[in-house]
Each structure stands twice: as structure tokens, then as C-alpha cells.
Amino acid sequence: MELRQSSLSSRNLLVPLGSVVLALLVGAVFVLIAGENPITAYRVLFVESFGSVRSIATTLQRATPLIFTGLGVAFAFRCGLFNIGAEGQLYVGAIVAAIIGVSFGDLPRVIHLPMAVAGGMAAGGIWAAVPGILKAKLGVHEVINTIMMNFVAYYLTDFLVTGPFHGGRWAPETDRVFPTAALERIFLPTRLNSGIILAVVAIAVVYVILWKTKTGYEIRAVGFNPGAAEYGGISVARNMVLAMVISGAVASLAGVEQVLGVHGRFIQRFSPDLGFMGIAVALLGKNHPVGVFFAAVLFGALRTGGAAMDRLTDVPRELIVIIQAMIIMFVAADELIRRLFARRGKA
């Protein structure tokens, strides 16, 4: 995976931007097959996702959880670790936030909300620490363990939400969290909530950790060259575990935001693969916090606009999935993009 780039210079932007353009071109072919005019379809896509303040708010709301999972995955990447477990981490984060949210109804907001958020982060961090420790101490590949931890998280939360914390309604969900634990809506009638502020803070914090602290220096050193890190007195094992904990804590905020800001409760299997989308977001964002923001907004926009496109044109919303898949394929085939555009540049 691409670990090299640290800054968002124009050269580093070539591949992500080129991939998006190419993916839209390939998508246009499918629009034609569906019997629509690509220009019309893409116009709808754009207008419905960025055309008004309200649609921008919806786009941002859709982007919020992707920012968290994208940041989480990117952070682990910087330490050379591939965290595929963001999905599980966000589920355990969500359930803990929900449990704290439906309990302690008499706490004031300034305590209750931070407690729910911190509880969720702690749960996600611990969840990710398990594969981190296994990797650091026993050399077990983190990809295997993060995937397996996802399944543990699914069934654990299934049990909790249908058993001890099943709410008063028939559906497999908890009760509504107390208003003191909710992330308030900041742009009605959309579901955009103060989670977006948390996301922006998380971007800044991740940036500072990675490039302005000695911890970030050590984590990135381990990611680039574990041999040299060890030589430089950096504990490879300790930093791997630390990177996984931070990665899991940040990723779990996606679940926390969904529970406290969007649904108001934990719903069984609520996530539309937000954790896995985070991998795509990190990849497209070149594992840079700012890149992750823009990649998440793009993916959020595609989902917002895609729904509208489905409604207003003959193009099914599945086109969005194709475009997303194409973006990932092109980003992964970065050498192809570089050559393609380099040749054009010469001609």
C-alpha cells in the first residue's frame, strides 16, 4: 500500500484526481447502457449533492462517519498496519456510546455527552488493541485478526441489542439515548449534527499527532522502516499497539456519531459498511488527514447525489457503487494513472 506520500503537493494529487475523473468516465458508459444521457445524470448528481446549502449539509452528514473511519484506517497505515477492522471498532464504539447514552439520565450534558463519546472511543481502542498486541508480540498478521474481530463485534452487539439492552419497541434496537448524551442537529431538517465538528477536530488532532509530536515521529518511523526505528531506540511493538489503539478509537467515533447524532439509538447492524468504506477513503485520501476529509466528502456526495439520481432519472443508484469501485481500482493502479497522464502531458 502507498505509504510514501506525506504532503498534499500537486504531484500527490494527480492520482486521486485522475482516478475520480476516469471513474466518472467509466460510469458514463454505464449511464449510456441504462439509456440516459451521462451529462444529465451527472448534473443531477452534482446539483443534488452540492447545489444548495441543504444538499451540502446532507453531503457533509453522509461524509462525517467516513471521515472517522478513513482517519482511523489512515492512521494505522502510517504505522504500516492495515486496519480492516474499522467496521467492528465502530460497532463496539456505537454500542458502548448507546449504553452510556440510555443510562445516567440525571447527569448534566457537559458530563454525559463527553462520557458517551469517550466510552465509545475507549471501546474501539481496546477492540483494535487486541490485533495490535497479537501483531506486536506474536507477529500474527493484523489483517486476519481485524477481520475476525469484526465478526466478534457483529455478534456481540447483536446479543447486547436483542438481549440486555433491547429497548421497549419490537425492533432490534436500544431505547433512545437521553438528550443529554445526543449530538445535536445543527442544520434542520437535515440530520447533520455536531459530529461534523468532532470530525474536524479529529482531523486536526491526527495531523498534529503524526507530524508535530515525537509519538508521530516514532509511529511513522515504524511504518517506513521498522529496522531503522529499532536502531533509533524506538520500540516497534509499543508503537504498533499504540497506533492500533488510536486508529480504533478514531474509527469508533463513526459509530458513536451514528448513534448519538443520527439514529439516536443503537440499531442492530445499522452500518452500511462505513468501516470498509473508510479503507477506500483512506486510500483515495493518500492517508493524509486533509486528503481523507476531501475523499470522505466525495463519497458522501456520491451517496447523496446517487439517491437523487435514482429518483429523478432512469439511472439506478447502483451506478454510485460502480463509480466508487472504479475510483478504488484506479487509485490502486496508480502507476497506470501516472503513465496515462504523463503521456498526455508530453503529446
Binding site: 510514501r4 509530536t213 515525537k214 518511523a221 517506513f224 531503522a228 529499532e230 536502531y231 533509533g232 520500540s235
Partner: protein
């Protein structure tokens, strides 16, 4: 498609026939003295005229014209970054020259890609080998030119062809061994076989000795001689003058992308070549006063270390290093030196024994704790250990110091101003080029990368300095500089442990020399007692008691 396969088969058969001919009449391959130097009589097999190649910001090759004569070993020397590899990459079709022409056997040629070069009869062996680890030697050699019948690879014929080639040129290697299991020296022979199998008439070797032990280098030279005997032309890229003098017929020197000149090897010498390379006079011997050793600063006693595979690598080693002296450890690589050094610096935990610094045990402490007690360490592999290639010069200069003040404030945050100031100071005093602390270190030349490692480790004012292969792969200018710095450390009262596979380096820097063989220290000599023959004999496992007698009675060390 059919046509291509057909020509491939005929080429193959031609080659097999040629090898067979050579095997049966090894002497008669070629009139021997084609490489005599009558200017008019000799034919240039490869002629470069006015080659210029620019990369962003540098001229790698500046109007270079050069003729390579048929059947000669032509050395191409120059410091790192002088453009010798670039020039040969142009010949091999990896780069395209901006201007200039290449002619091969008298006819102008366009070499746009390596395939064209191979078809013409050019072969190149790179510093980094391009072999498939999981395939056998024979499979690697025939890759993409497989002998086949009815669509199946004829593996037996491949093995036979490879063995015949290997015998013909004295390239000892087992054709059926898997590449993953053979040594670096053998891998290089496989690369040479690959080129010969494709009927290379001109063989370009890009710094072939950089990865070899002295013994393997000797064997390589033997092979090169055999190749020359049998008519192959060799372009030998190197920056070691001794090797140029030992093997080449003619030598061309490049400096900063320009051809300084071409000499007949017999008519030039070390001093002239060194000056041509560096552009000024060079100190070939390190200037130093006799050492004034004081009390012991570091010692190891009864040290046992296992290597990564769990085999005993260091067996009951005891040594001591005093302040103000250089203790050299001579030995063929892989006799436990690396494990010894890593046990001292904390990178591996010894199984048994003591490592003492000022009389206090430090074995088993973390690398960071050992560093903080005043041990500096120049690792043998700067890419694997010494540097983080993706980091800037400034960030590499704090590796290991990064968690100490003044580079960290409030226990967590980097002090970028201090980091930058530190970098600016060291970049200036160690003359790192380009003098830009923000430059990503990957883009620096090998010599400048090593200067960064040296600057970082020496500037800590160590009590005890461990240098492992401190000048590997560097050019004369950088070697001279690093040697002087090591001696300066010694004169300031640091105890220095120097591990090197280069006997010259050991002999010119050390005050005492310990010889390591098969995990043990087999002898400790003073510098007065040591010379190249005696060390070479001991390094190969010779009996230390008999070393003197046997050598004096004229028995060759084997």
C-alpha cells in the same frame, strides 16, 4: 508469433554449438592479443559519441565520447553521482540520451529498450540482482529464452546448457539450486550466466564488487579474465582504484558527468586516477598520530549470541576497547561480526556473557538506554538500519535523539526550530550536499546519506563508538572524510570498535586488530604485527599458532 519462436530456437542452437566448441577447445577461442594497444589496429566494438543526458536539475552525462575496444576490460570509474551508471544505462536502453549517438560494431544503433540491447549482444549485470528467488539457477538463466520442445520447457537441456556455460567460464554455481538458497556472490554469477546465455558480446558490470567479499572478488576477477580470454568485452563500473589496476586494460574516469580522460591501465597509477576522480589531491593513507590509549571504556566477556535462525553466531567472545584507541575487527563477512555488534548495541539480546560500559553491565538493555549511556553506532546497512529514507535530512539527524530535549518540549511535542537548527549545524560541518535539511534523504547520494549517519552519531560525543562497515559503497572523497572523522573521535578520547570487511580500512585505522572467524576471536594483533597476508590467513581460519611460521616458510594460506 511462429517466426519469433523459430529465430529464438536457432539463436539458441547457435549458442549451444558455440559453447560446445569452446568447451572442446578452450584454448583456441580467440587470438589472445587482440587487446594490445596499437591505436590504429584495434576495433571499437562500442562507440559512444557526444552523449548528453539531463535530469531535472543536473546534467548526468555531459557530451561524453568513449570507445570500447573489442575484447578489452574497460574500467569506468568515478565518484558516486559522476554519471557512470547513467551512461551505461543509456547504452543498455534504460534511459534515452538527450543528444548523441551510439554505434555498435561500426553501425549506428538506436537502443530504445533493454530488449534491443540484448538482441544486439549487450548484457548488463546490475548492483541489485533481478532474479526470481523461487526458481532454480537454470530456470533463471533461461527465463524468457527457454529451450523447448512441443511447447514444453526442456529443463534437462537448460540445465545442461547452463552447466556447460558455467564450466566454460569458471562460473561455479549449481544449476539446480534454488536462487533463494545461494549466496550473493553466486547470484551475481547467475546474472553473468544470464547475459552469456543470451550471447552477450559486451558485458557491463555495474559495481559488481560492492556486494562481494574479498574472496568472491578474486573469483570474479578470475571469471572476468576467462571471459576476456574467450573474446567477451567487459565494461567494469567501479569506484575502487585497486580493482581498476588489478583487472582492467584501459580505464575511463568520469567526474560530475564529464569524461576526464581515458588511460591505459599499465601507464597510470593510484595517485593519478584518484586525482582524476576527485579533481584534487587525495590522502590515500589516513594521517594519524600513534594512539594514546587510556583506561578500558567498554568490554565484552564470554559473549554468546545466536543469529536469527537460532544458530550460534558469536561463541564465547571477550574483547576490550580502551579510550583513545581503534580496535579493528577483521573477518570475512558472516563470521558473527554483525551479531556481535548488535548484541553490544542492544539490537539483539545475548544468550550469555557480559557487555560492560565503564565496568557496568549493559547487555540486554534497550537500544535507547544504551545510546543514552554514550554509545554511538554506525550500522553496516544504512538503508535497513541507519536511515529512514522517506524522512528529511533533519528528521534523520534526530533519529535516536528524537525523544530527548531540546528536540521535544512538554514531553510530547516536537521542537521544530531546534530540530532545524541542529540539522543546519550538522549539514554545514559535515558538508552534506545538497545542504538542505528539508531534503528527503532518499534523494541524496550514498556518500551524503552516510555523512548524515556519521554526523548524527559523532555529534553526540560518544564514549564508545561502534562503526560497522562505515564506508561501504562510498567513493574516495567520502571515505577519506569519514576516516579522518573516526581518527578525530579516537584522538578526542573515544573508544572505537571498527568492523570492516575491507582489510585496507582495518589496517589504516586500527591500533589493534582482532580477527574473527566462525564466531570466535582467533587472534588479537597490534598494528605492528599485522599485515595483509597474516590477516588474510587468519580470516580464512588459519591456525594462529602457525600463522607466522607457515607464512615465512612460504606455504600459501588456504
Amino acid at each position: 508469433m511462429r517466426r519469433v519462436e523459430k529465430t529464438r530456437v536457432t539463436a539458441l542452437q547457435r549458442r549451444e554449438a558455440r559453447v560446445r566448441r569452446r568447451c572442446s577447445r578452450p584454448q583456441a577461442a580467440r587470438p589472445k592479443h587482440l587487446h594490445t594497444f596499437g591505436e590504429s589496429a584495434v576495433e571499437n566494438i562500442l562507440e559512444l559519441s557526444h552523449i548528453t543526458k539531463r535530469f531535472p536539475g543536473v546534467i548526468a552525462n555531459d557530451d561524453i565520447s568513449l570507445g570500447i575496444r573489442r575484447g578489452e576490460i574497460h574500467a569506468l570509474v568515478g565518484e558516486n553521482g559522476s554519471g557512470k551508471s547513467t551512461l551505461m544505462s543509456i547504452v543498455y536502453g534504460l534511459y534515452r540520451a538527450d543528444t548523441g549517438e551510439i554505434s555498435f560494431k561500426g553501425a549506428p544503433v538506436q537502443i530504445g529498450e533493454p530488449r534491443t540491447a540484448i538482441e544486439l549482444g549487450l548484457g548488463m549485470v546490475f548492483q541489485h540482482f533481478m532474479l526470481v528467488d523461487t526458481l532454480t539457477v537454470a530456470e533463471n538463466v533461461i527465463l524468457h529464452a527457454e529451450p523447448h520442445s512441443w511447447g514444453f520447457v526442456d529443463y534437462k537441456r537448460a540445465v545442461k546448457a547452463v552447466e556447460e556455460l558455467a564450466t566454460a567460464y569458471g562460473l561455479r554455481v549449481d544449476a539446480r539450486a534454488r536462487v533463494a538458497d545461494i549466496s550473493v556472490g553466486q547470484e551475481q554469477r547467475v546474472e553473468i550466466l544470464k547475459a552469456l546465455y543470451r550471447q552477450a558480446e559486451v558485458l557491463i558490470l555495474d559495481e559488481p564488487t560492492a556486494v562481494l567479499t574479498p574472496q568472491e572478488t578474486e573469483e570474479l576477477f578470475q571469471v572476468m579474465n576467462n571471459l576476456r580470454e574467450q573474446g567477451t568485452t567487459i565494461v567494469f563500473i567501479t569506484h575502487k582504484i585497486k580493482e581498476v589496476l588489478a583487472i582492467s586494460d584501459r580505464v575511463s574516469v568520469l567526474r560530475r558527468g564529464k569524461l576526464v580522460g581515458t588511460r591505459n591501465t599499465a601507464e597510470t597509477g593510484q595517485r593519478e586516477l584518484a586525482e582524476m576522480m576527485v579533481g584534487r589531491e587525495v590522502l590515500l593513507r589516513v594521517k594519524k598520530e600513534p594512539a594514546k590509549p587510556a583506561e578500558t571504556v567498554a568490554s565484552v566477556a564470554g559473549l554468546q549470541v545466536r543469529d536469527r535462525r537460532g544458530m550460534p553466531a558469536v561463541k564465547d567472545v571477550s574483547l576490550e576497547v580502551r579510550r583513545g584507541e581503534v580496535l579493528g575487527i577483521a573477518g570475512v563477512e558472516g563470521n558473527g561480526q554483525q551479531e556481535l555488534v548488535e548484541a553490544i548495541t542492544g539490537l539483539t539480546a545475548p544468550e550469555e556473557g557480559l557487555v560492560l560500559l565503564h565496568g557496568k553491565p549493559i547487555q540486554g538493555l534497550s537500544p535507547m538506554k544504551i545510546k543514552r549511556r554514550g554509545v554511538s553506532y554506525i550500522p553496516e546497512d544504512r538503508h535497513k538500519r541507519g536511515l529512514i529514507l522517506e524522512y528529511s535530512v533533519a528528521d534523520n539527524l534526530i533519529l535516536g535523539l528524537h525523544s530527548d530535549p531540546p528536540f521535544v518540549e512538554r514531553y510530547l511535542f516536537r521542537n521544530d526550530r531546534q530540530i532545524k537548527a541542529h540539522a543546519a549545524r550538522l549539514v554545514e560541518s559535515y558538508d552534506v550536499r545538497p545542504p538542505n535539511p528539508d531534503q528527503i534523504i532518499r534523494t541524496l547520494s550514498g556518500g551524503n546519506q552516510q555523512k548524515v549517519v556519521v554526523a548524527r552519531e559523532f555529534s553526540r560525543d560518544p564514549e564508545f563508538l561502534v562503526c560497522s562497515q562505515p564506508t561501504r559503497g562510498l567513493d574516495i572523497g567520502a571515505i577519506e572524510f569519514i576516516h579522518q572523522e573516526i581518527i578525530r573521535q579516537r584522538d578526542q578520547g573515544t573508544g572505537v570498535l571498527l568492523v570492516s570487511a575491507e582489510l585496507d580500512e582495518i589496517l589504516s585505522l586500527s591500533d589493534r586488530i582482532a580477527v574473527m572467524f566462525d564466531g570466535r576471536i582467533v587472534a588479537v594483533l597490534t598494528i605492528e604485527e599485522a599485515d595483509e597476508q597474516r590477516l588474510g590467513y587468519l580470516m580464512l581460519g588459519g591456525d594462529p599458532q602457525q600463522a607466522t611460521g607457515e607464512l615465512e616458510s612460504g606455504v600459501t594460506a588456504k
